[in-house]
């Protein structure tokens, strides 16, 4: 694959970041950070395709981060990653379109790859048009 998708992963646990980066660095260009401000900077400076944010983090929830990211660039695929998919904040975010998908935690790799694949394909066909 020539054009690797650019994926930004935000999680407050360092080991989650490291495992994610090593696992996916061959498939995607991976940015991984625990710091919401760094995440916003990355989105501003790079052509990010997908952002995956852990929901339960100190200071800012994943939903809050995704909301700010839509204001910077709303064409990015936004996925919330959480062990508590019943969280009302998440449901509301999906209803309002702040998050487009929910990924259960621990991560279902196949599900995530499928989401990114479908998105990249649709994005590619849109660019072709």
């Amino acid at each position: 694959m020539e054009d690797k998708a650019v994926v930004l992963y935000i999680d407050d646990e360092y080991l989650n970041l490291s495992a994610f980066e090593i696992l996916f660095r061959n498939k995607f260009t991976v940015f991984a950070t625990h710091d919401p401000r760094k995440a916003f900077e990355i989105v501003k400076k790079n052509e990010v395709d997908v952002v995956i944010a852990d929901q339960k983090m100190p200071m800012m929830t994943g939903v809050e981060i995704l909301k700010q990211i839509t204001e910077i660039n709303n064409s990015i695929l936004r996925i919330i990653h959480s062990g508590y998919i019943d969280d009302p904040e998440i449901k509301k975010a999906v209803d309002e379109g702040i998050a487009q998908f929910i990924l259960d935690k621990p991560l279902n790799k196949i599900m995530m790859l499928k989401m990114i694949d479908v998105y990249m394909e649709s994005k590619g066909s849109r660019t072709l048009l």
């Binding site: 407050d12 646990e13 080991l15 989650n16 490291s18 495992a19 994610f20 090593i22 696992l23 061959n26 625990h34 339960k56 983090m57 100190p58 200071m59 062990g83 508590y84 935690k105 621990p106 991560l107 790799k109």
Partner: protein, 395 residues
């Protein structure tokens, strides 16, 4: 507390060996609307009470056989009957020991010849007093029940904090273990299919991934260990426990709330085991540490401290008689005007729906149950210290 007595017909038992007195009093009280029963001796009085419990008793002192004092003593000694008000009847001419009458449990006395209005007022007053006492007692019981429910709900809230903490603390390592294993699998498969030894980059990955897995397993093991403690959160069983361990377990369970923003400094000195209720003592630590985290988050939000400057210091020391635990944070602090109230039940500075306002009050009662003390020191906007002292002798 108004109650309408007009509907209810109260019963009066009159005990007197003098037929004449019985007639006069019966007639009097029936006119006033009371249901009246009579007894002609001490023994008959007891029998009558045992058959149907009256609301009030008018009791003559001088009766053949069992006298009034004896009857009253016996009734007051029986739990079922000791709430019946007893008014003694005495003739002015008789030898009447008022002190003894009160000592055996009489509530009042009336003297012959009877005055209608006096009898009426005294009987009414004492029935009303008894009814009010009953109502107060019931109200008190209700309140106690409600308090128990609230204490229970605070316990459930503490359990809620615990379980969601545990879920997060276990889910997190499971997530990075699972991703790391996935990455290991991919690499091992590629080595097998390429029949090529890993290059230095892959070696590097292997080191990181195995470290991830080992760290994750270590984290989960720690959590499972601390869980054994919280199985006992709801029991009052006393066992020997190391306070340092209890604090470490609380910190493990709450790890996800610290992350990189809050540094925790543990200044533990070696302290002897104390006999205590470990689950309940842990509830105290969770509560206080949780408050510290809230205070630090407040301080960061209102820019009193910088985002990564949160700090909680926990020290333990023991002397000849006590273990002293000090939990200090550099959070928003407690205003002077309210610091005295923080241990009061239902006092809270948190928004409605966040906390019952019972947390610290329950902490205080748990520490008091251990014959210890808990105090708070704070300067506004300059952190808080909670100081707990528990006797080594335990409970």
């Amino acid at each position: 507390m108004g109650q309408d007595y007009s509907e209810k017909k109260f019963s009066v038992l009159i005990a007197d060996d003098n037929q004449n007195n019985l007639k006069v009093l019966s007639a009097m009280l029936e006119t006033l609307g009371y249901r009246v029963r009579v007894a002609k001796s001490g023994e008959q009085t007891i029998q009558s009470v045992e058959t149907v419990k009256p609301d009030i008793i008018l009791l003559d002192i001088h009766m053949p056989g069992m006298d009034g004092y004896e009857v009253c003593t016996k009734l007051k000694a029986t739990e079922e009957y000791n709430d019946i008000p007893v008014i003694f009847i005495s003739a002015l001419s008789e030898v009447f020991n008022k002190i003894q009458a009160f000592k055996v449990g009489g509530i009042d006395y009336i003297t012959k010849p009877f005055e209608l209005e006096e009898v009426q007022l005294r009987v009414e007053t004492h029935i009303r007093l008894k009814e009010n006492t009953l109502m107060l007692r019931n109200a008190l019981l209700e309140l106690q029940k409600k308090e128990e429910l609230l204490v229970q709900s605070e316990k459930m809230a503490a359990l809620g904090v615990l379980t969601s903490g545990i879920a997060h603390e276990i889910n997190n390592p499971v997530n990075f273990i699972s991703n790391s294993v996935s990455a290991l699998e991919e690499r091992v498969k590629s080595i097998i299919s390429d029949k090529k030894l890993p290059d230095s980059e892959m070696n590097d990955d292997f080191n990181k991934l195995f470290l991830n897995v080992a760290t994750g397993i270590d984290q989960i093991t720690k959590i499972v260990h601390s869980l054994r403690l919280y199985c006992r959160i709801d029991t009052d069983k006393k066992t020997g426990a190391d306070i340092n361990n209890l604090i470490e377990s609380a910190l493990t369970i709450m790890h996800h709330r610290f992350t990189y923003r809050i540094a925790v400094e543990q200044k533990f000195s070696s302290i002897p085991e104390i006999k205590c209720q470990p689950g309940r003592i842990s509830q105290v630590f969770i509560n206080i540490i949780s408050n510290s985290i809230d205070a630090i988050e407040d301080a960061i939000k209102s820019e009193i401290i910088k985002e990564d400057q949160g700090k909680i210091t926990i020290s333990t020391v023991s002397n000849d008689s006590h273990v002293n635990i000090k939990i200090t944070d550099n959070g928003a602090g407690i205003d002077k005007s309210i610091i005295k109230k923080i241990f009061d039940p239902f006092f809270t500075t948190k928004a409605v729906g966040h906390g019952t306002g019972l947390g610290l009050s329950i902490c205080q009662s748990i520490i008091k149950d251990h014959n210890g003390s808990i105090i708070a020191e704070s300067a506004d906007k300059n952190g808080t210290a909670i100081i707990i002292s528990i006797p080594l002798a335990g409970v």
